[in-house]
């Protein structure tokens, strides 16, 4: 046995030694992740009221879910929220990132400011924005009035924005199904965009700086103008980053809770239930009157299913177009 063999043997370690290194993290992941996730699945088949399991009921929760108008409303509200946040956030942060990538002076300064909301707690941000949206004393209505607009109810406005716009154009009638997200929800969307933009800018900037200069030079020699360079070089080469930003913003948006909990109502989810998103709905079902934790778990699993499916679809669709 020479020293080289000892070395090799040392490397191919016995599982027990390895386990010692993994156990501290492993136990915690097991108890506080795996078991709860598995329990969520199991609980969704049981009737649980105020913490007491009252029996196995099979798919009854899921059957009820599909007849529960509040659940579908909360799904719709969440979808509106995601659709409101993701494209706008993507567009604005890409736009600002491209501006920041122009070898401008004070890059650090701009980046610092844009990123500031990311380190600020959502609780504080929600409180500040709720005050800014205040219908009578709020800063936003003040600015609106200064600019010659009408003051709006913001977080207290249950009417859909398309319906409001139609009303603004003087149309008497507008189909109820197309009234769109309430202005209250749009207010929450604005805050989400404001808060997340800095993070996305930093990611986009990293992506932009990874594009080698020679591609730009080559495009310019080909006679491309600024717009041409963007569409022929930046956009395709940036697509992995864009894909990532889109994915992560979508997933985070589906889980919105804090802003809803602190900015809307009372009661939370108001006005007229137009901001009751799915995570708040499951929170309410699980922890409020009745403590229906089985039903809440069923909602949670549907949420998980949606996020997982979206991730997979997005991955497949975008992967086929992404230039790596």
């Amino acid at each position: 046995m020479n020293w080289l063999e000892t070395l090799r043997r040392n490397k191919a370690m016995d599982p027990i030694t390895a386990a010692l290194y993994i156990v501290p993290a492993g136990i915690i992941v097991l108890i506080f992740r795996m078991i709860p996730i598995a329990s969520a699945f199991v609980l969704s088949f049981f009737d649980v009221k105020m913490g007491r399991v009252r029996g196995f009921i099979g798919l009854a929760h899921y059957v009820r879910l599909f007849q529960d108008p509040t659940f579908f409303n909360s799904l719709g509200t969440t979808a509106y929220y995601v659709i409101g946040v993701v494209p706008a956030s993507l567009f604005l942060s890409l736009f600002l990132a491209v501006l920041l990538n122009q070898k401008i002076k004070g890059l650090g300064f701009y980046r610092t400011i844009y990123f500031l909301p990311v380190v600020t707690s959502l609780v504080a941000i929600s409180m500040v924005w709720k005050w800014i949206f205040h219908p009578r004393l709020g800063l936003l209505n003040f600015v609106f009035e200064k600019l010659g607009g009408n003051s709006l109810l913001w977080l207290e406005e249950p009417r859909g924005i398309f319906e409001m716009a139609a009303g603004g154009l003087g149309w008497e009638w507008w189909p109820e199904a197309l009234s769109g997200p309430s202005l209250a929800l749009v207010a929450v969307v604005i805050v989400a965009i404001w808060r997340g933009i800095g993070y996305n800018i930093v990611i986009f900037l990293a992506g932009l700086q990874n594009i080698p200069d020679q591609y730009y030079e080559a495009a310019r020699i080909d006679g491309a103008n600024t717009r041409g360079v963007f569409w022929r070089v930046t956009w395709p080469l940036l697509s992995p980053t864009t894909f990532y930003v889109m994915l992560s913003t979508t997933i985070v948006s589906f889980q919105v809770f804090t802003q809803i909990y602190l900015m809307t109502g009372p009661p939370v989810g108001g006005p007229m239930g137009t901001t009751k998103v799915i995570v708040y709905y499951l929170f309410e079902k699980g922890f409020d009157a009745g403590g229906n934790m089985g039903y809440a778990s069923a909602v949670a699993l549907i949420l998980f299913g949606i996020i997982l499916t979206l991730t997979l679809i997005q991955r497949r669709v975008v992967e086929s177009r992404v230039y790596y």
Binding site: W3, N10, M13, P15, A18, Y21, I22, P24, A25, I28, F32, R33, M34, I35, P36, I37, S39, A40, G51, L96, Q102, I104, G108, R111, T112, F115, L116, P117, V119, T120, S121, V123, A124, M127, V128, W131, R136, L137, L139, F142, E145, K146, W194, I197, Y199, I203, A206, S248, Q255, T258, Y261, F283, G286, M293, S297, A300, L303, F304, I307, T311
Partner: protein
């Protein structure tokens, strides 16, 4: 021919420069509008937090906290609240801020001056046990950070450097756990903590967060970049596996460890849903939940809420201005989960 060409070039250049200049101007204009939009809410928070309860109710609002003052006989300026203004008579009805009867004064006697009420901060601080909330948050954060550093380095070392049965599968299971968002397992987690008897304790806020899968992932990636030769050399020198981690790998991973520390601090400091569900009493209630409860109480005034919001975000924001580069990098990587 040559001349025309250079003339042409020069024209091109001039046009290019003008366009470029305009473009530059546009770039800065866009960026500065962005900066204003990002900064105004912060400004509004601080401005509001320094106003009087009367000034809060004024519309249009003031950008800088302003008080109304009248000069006393002794030449001092006393603060008053304006009750009403009568434009026709040119008079103002005021009430002394310190208390007392209303007076009617001519318009000119009342002067506006900037007035910053730092006392709002004291009042907000005393309206709820914020000292306790602060302590709880700091306490929990410190332990979570230390715990995450220990568990993640150990696990990452095993995943990166050791060979054992099922290593990659276990690692994959870990990674897949990361994909499940917190709201999905918050209800059963509550039940798990109930079974452990940990509801409303520090344990509930600390122990479930002692392992951070993404940190393990990040450290593993980094550990893998450390060349095998180093390991071989160390073993020849009689270094044990643990001391190799402790003496060689960790010192080489300072940047990654700092990143882990930063996103763990920011994440723990700002976490909300978990402590909202898992704590009941002010004894263990962390800052964010305390702040939320404070803002939900009927009758809490806006200026006090803004003051409370301001002193709750202050530590991280101050730290951010000193360490912004590291913090941005760390948080940016922490989001890079996919």
């Amino acid at each position: 021919m040559e001349q025309t060409s250079s003339l042409h070039d020069r024209e091109m250049n001039a046009a290019y420069r003008v366009r470029r200049g305009l473009g530059r101007g546009g770039v800065y204009a866009g960026l500065i509008i962005g900066v204003i939009l990002m900064i105004v809410p912060f400004w509004w928070m601080i401005a509001t937090s320094l106003k009087s309860p009367i000034e809060i109710l004024e519309f249009p609002p003031t950008w800088v906290p302003t008080g109304q003052f009248v000069q006393t006989d002794t030449g001092e300026w006393d603060e008053v609240y304006v009750v009403s203004r009568d434009a026709d008579a040119g008079s103002v009805t005021v009430r002394p801020a310190a208390g007392g009867d209303q007076q009617i004064l001519p318009e000119g006697a009342v002067q506006s001056r900037a007035r910053l009420r730092f006392s709002n901060y004291v009042e907000a601080w005393n309206q709820a046990p914020f000292a306790r909330y602060y302590f709880n948050t700091i306490f929990v954060t410190i332990f979570v950070v230390i715990g995450v550093l220990i568990t993640s380095s150990l696990a990452a070392y095993a995943f990166a450097r050791m060979r054992f049965w099922g290593r990659d599968n276990i690692f994959l299971v870990f990674l897949s756990m990361m994909m499940v968002p917190q709201p999905v397992y918050i209800v059963p987690s509550y039940i798990v903590l109930v079974k452990l008897g940990w509801i409303d304790t520090y344990q509930a806020l600390i122990i479930p967060w002692l392992a951070h899968i993404f940190s393990i992932f990040l450290l593993r990636q980094h550990f893998k970049t450390i060349p095998n030769d180093l390991y071989d050399a160390a073993i020849i020198d009689g270094c044990s596996r643990f001391s190799f981690l402790w003496r060689i790998i960790l010192p080489l991973s300072k940047a990654t460890l700092v990143a882990v520390v930063i996103f763990t601090i920011v994440g723990t400091w700002n976490s909300f849903l978990w402590p909202l569900v898992m704590t009941n009493t002010p004894e263990v209630r962390p800052l964010q939940v305390g702040l939320a409860r404070f803002s939900q109480e009927q009758g809490t005034s806006h200026e006090l809420m803004m003051a409370a919001a301001a002193f709750s975000v202050a530590p991280l924001i101050v730290a951010y201005f000193f360490l912004q580069k590291q913090i941005i990098q760390s948080l940016a990587t922490s989001g890079m989960k996919s």
